[in-house]
C-alpha cells in the first residue's frame, strides 16, 4: 500500500540528499584556497526495491576529486618548493556555484511534492470532519 506518508518520506529523503550535497559544496567553497585541498563529491543512489523505503534516494560515499592540483607560483609561501611553486586546491568556484544551484532547484521540487502530498492527505481527512 503506497500511502501518502511513504510518499512524503520519499520527498524528505530527496531533500536530505540535496542538503548533504549542498553541505559538501559549501565545504568545497570554504576550502577553495586551502593548499592541497581536493574537491569533495557525493553520488546519489536509488534505494533498491527490496527495502521498505524503496524508491527514495540516499547518498553514497563521499569521494575526493582526483583532478590534478594546480601549481601556484608564490616563492614567499611557506609551503613553496625550491622552484617557488606550491599545490593549490582543485576546487573550481564556477562548478561549485552551478552545483549549488542545481541542488537548490531539486530541493525546492522535493519540497513542493512534500507539500502537495500533505495537502492531499489533509483533504482526505477533511472528509471525516463533517
Amino acid at each position: 500500500m503506497s500511502d501518502l506518508s511513504s510518499t512524503m518520506a520519499a520527498s524528505a529523503s530527496g531533500m536530505a540528499a540535496q542538503a548533504a550535497r549542498l553541505r559538501l559544496v559549501s565545504e568545497n567553497i570554504a576550502n577553495a584556497d586551502t593548499p592541497g585541498f581536493q574537491r569533495k563529491t557525493v553520488a546519489f543512489e536509488a534505494v533498491h526495491a527490496m527495502f521498505d523505503n524503496a524508491g527514495s534516494v540516499r547518498t553514497g560515499r563521499v569521494e575526493l576529486s582526483d583532478a590534478e592540483l594546480p601549481e601556484v607560483f608564490d616563492p614567499g609561501h611557506p609551503l613553496a618548493d625550491e622552484n617557488g611553486y606550491y599545490q593549490g586546491s582543485n576546487v573550481e568556484l564556477m562548478v561549485e556555484i552551478a552545483d549549488a544551484r542545481e541542488a537548490q532547484r531539486s530541493y525546492e521540487a522535493n519540497l513542493k511534492m512534500f507539500d502537495q502530498s500533505r495537502q492531499m492527505n489533509a483533504s482526505i481527512l477533511e472528509l471525516l470532519r463533517r
Binding site: 500500500m1 503506497s2 500511502d3 501518502l4 511513504s6 510518499t7 512524503m8 520519499a10 520527498s11 529523503s13 530527496g14 540528499a17 540535496q18 550535497r21 553520488a43 546519489f44 543512489e45 536509488a46 526495491a49 524503496a54 524508491g55 527514495s56 534516494v57 542545481e102 541542488a103 532547484r105 531539486s106 521540487a109 522535493n110 513542493k112 511534492m113 512534500f114 502537495q116 502530498s117 495537502q119 492531499m120 483533504s123 482526505i124 477533511e126 472528509l127 463533517r130
Partner: protein, 129 residues
C-alpha cells in the same frame, strides 16, 4: 454499503490512483539527480477503468479493493524522456514531473469533491443535514 455504490467506488478508485501516481512522481523527483535513474509512471485512470470493461469499479488493477497491495498499484512503466536524457543516464525532467503533479492534484481534488458531494446527497436523502 457505501463501497457498493458505483459512484463511491469510482471516486475512491480515482483517489487511490492519484495517490499511487503521486508516490511515483515523488520518487522520480527525489531521484532527479541519481545517475542512471529512469522516470516512471502508471497507466492513466481512464485506461485501467476501460480495461475493467464493466460498471463494477476495478481500480488500477483487478482485485484492487479490499486487498492489501504491496508497493505501488497499477501497471508501472518507464516514461519516455521529456527532452533529452542527462549525460549520466537520468531521464527525470523536473518540468514534466511538475506537470504530472498538477494533473494528480486535479484528479485527487475531483475524486474527493465527488465523494463529498455524494455523501451530502446521501445525507439529504435521509432527511439530515
Amino acid at each position: 454499503m457505501i463501497q457498493n455504490m458505483t459512484i463511491f467506488q469510482m471516486a475512491s478508485g480515482l483517489a487511490s490512483h492519484a495517490t499511487d501516481r503521486q508516490a511515483l512522481t515523488a520518487q522520480n523527483i527525489a531521484n532527479a539527480d541519481t545517475p542512471g535513474y529512469k522516470a516512471r509512471d502508471i497507466v492513466p485512470f481512464e485506461q485501467s477503468y476501460e480495461a475493467s470493461g464493466s460498471i463494477a469499479m476495478q481500480g488500477t488493477r483487478a482485485g484492487h479493493f479490499g486487498v492489501a497491495r504491496g508497493g505501488v498499484g497499477g501497471e508501472v512503466f518507464t516514461v519516455s524522456p521529456f527532452g533529452i536524457e542527462s549525460p549520466n543516464g537520468n531521464s527525470v525532467s523536473l518540468e514534466a514531473e511538475m506537470i504530472r503533479s498538477a494533473e494528480i492534484r486535479q484528479q485527487h481534488d475531483l475524486a474527493v469533491g465527488i465523494y463529498q458531494k455524494s455523501l451530502t446527497i446521501l445525507r439529504t436523502s435521509m432527511g439530515r443535514k
